[in-house]
Point group: C2
Chain length 349, copies 2
């Protein structure tokens, strides 16, 4: 089909996958639709406040919005700014603490920010933010105040003329526990802590949860799930209905007698969960711009031939979120065709 | 000093480090100068062909050029394009294989590309590239032909009207070997393989080496070192004269009784070498946008207090190259001041 589009940051040279320069981030359209639909049926409309940190893509957020989820969760100021710019600013939550809220206060959007200390309350007030949630530590050693302090922080925020919408608390330590009963127990204990805080804070919003707890967290008024859309292989072991939708297209650029090398290295992959996988082969190691891989061992695939120089392969990242953050765009694909190419426009800080 | 600059991708709000939004990539000016000077004295002018993959910054490449290193090594087409655009295209080597060389052939620069197969030679010829090096496998299982094949590939390239400038071979498997004698032995064995190939190929260029072998590789006509400029902590153990020059500035956004949390997570850090370090503290774990850390254990720093919310800390990445690739800019700093802010303009593919 030849040239169909060319944008500022690179090259989109065709509407067939084979025409894409590599490495290229591909998103399977049917799997994405499946994931969005399943979650939307489980948590309709405002019961889900999708977290955009996993995909950092306002076009994907627009799809979530069209399914009825008009509020979004963000991890960075840049994510908030990008959603506001994309016209998706009905109800944006920065589920993270900031010490300089001036860029948030300047947004043309409804902005709520998490606070867990006097300093972050001061920052919200001084930055021109109007609404906050009291962030409560529900068991994960990260942000969030002790439940005992939530009420007094809410009082302080109200004295500073901030609207306190309620509480949030992320039970991240429960997300990847394989046993569903054990996971539900930790989620319940976490929500007990959040309930205690909420009793002191008040407000309509109890924001919590994620892809690992969306089905068992019945306490939160809204679930902040994000991973479900692209889905990580790490979640596969907990028996989720969501399916991995993201992979990297790479080109084999070199081959030896017992290994091949493709142009997709550790600068195109989040590596904190380890090496990527390549179906039918064994990954040896990743370099900056290469993955070296050989034949799979110990199964009947031993006889599988190595791909040839110029062949295209699909590489499955071990961790989606930091993989996406390396890429300028993601290509929505169906069969051999590229349906759309979306900028990963919410990257950076 | 207030606002001094604002560029397209973000915010540069002052010329003091304290005014930078976080996370921010900082580069110590004096350490950079030291590293560039030491290498330049060891390998003057064309003896060094700096690899830009570690820093991906054409302004830093300009400093290397001013010290007399006019040829550069690249790992991606985008790095080649960026250097050409920056006017640093006197002699650019893509030390990597490509199957579509059209973007290289279109550059206003002297372009040489590595080839190790019939397919990559065809791609160079069809893409309008005029000069190649025969890439030889010298022991690292990655790109490069068997030394026995180098001569026939050179013949093929010449039949395709390509100028064969010589050979290259990267002894990456030797770089981080701690024992200097053992390292030198592996480098020597690698260069024996390259010499055998060069005898069959001919040409003036024998390109090899890196920061771990620059001092012991006396065979190559030019050394492709890159890491020396910013320097990785991983190289510290091999007793190098280069010093880590790069770190991340982060803000403490939350604190508990026994840990603190700063706004620098695994999307701001290359994680393939593990967690970053924070001087005087112990890193517990990284999340997407957070690092949780506590007091150091087992030494007399046990009494060190945790930093307070709003304090700034410096985080040392475990691996520089993939860290830089996440950031839009790096700030050259001296004392408390920001000297210059350089775009990381060579990212992507």
């Amino acid at each position: 089909m030849g040239m169909v589009a060319k944008d500022g940051g690179g090259y989109v040279t065709g509407n067939f996958i084979d025409d894409l320069p590599t490495p290229a981030l591909l998103l399977d359209a049917a799997t994405l639709d499946h994931n969005l639909k399943v979650m939307s049926e489980a948590l309709p409309g405002p019961r889900l406040r999708p977290h955009v940190k996993a995909h950092k893509c306002s076009e994907l957020a627009r799809r979530q919005s069209k399914l009825g989820h008009r509020g979004f969760t963000c991890a960075t100021v840049r994510e908030m700014e990008g959603l506001a710019r994309a016209g998706l600013g009905d109800d944006l939550l920065l589920a993270n603490e900031v010490l300089d809220a001036r860029r948030l206060g300047a947004l043309d959007a409804r902005v709520t920010v998490a606070v867990d200390s006097e300093e972050t309350i001061d920052a919200a007030a001084m930055g021109g933010v109007r609404e906050v949630l009291i962030d409560v530590n529900v068991g994960l050693p990260r942000c969030g105040c002790d439940p005992d302090r939530a009420g007094s922080l809410a009082d302080l925020a109200r004295r500073k003329k901030l609207e306190v919408r309620g509480v949030m608390g992320y039970e991240g330590h429960a997300m990847l526990i394989e046993d569903a009963g054990e996971r539900a127990g930790i989620v319940a204990a976490s929500m007990d802590r959040l309930a205690a805080a909420h009793a002191d804070v008040g407000g309509d919003v109890i924001s919590a949860g994620g892809t690992g707890s969306y089905a068992c967290n019945g306490f939160a008024t809204e679930i902040q799930a994000g991973s479900y859309a692209l889905m990580d292989t790490a979640y596969a072991k907990i028996g989720s209905p969501f399916r991995p939708a993201l992979f990297l297209l790479a080109t084999v650029i070199s081959r030896s007698s017992n290994y091949a090398v493709a142009d997709c290295g550790l600068k195109a992959l989040g590596m904190d969960h380890g090496d990527p996988t390549i179906d039918g082969y064994r990954v040896w190691f990743c370099s900056d711009e290469h993955v070296t891989f050989g034949r799979a061992e110990g199964d009947d695939r031993e006889a599988v031939a190595l791909p040839r120089v110029g062949d295209r392969i699909r590489v499955v990242p071990a961790h989606v979120d930091p993989t996406v953050a390396y890429h300028e765009r993601v290509h929505l694909v169906s069969g051999e065709g590229v349906v759309e190419s979306w900028p990963i426009d919410l990257r950076g800080w």
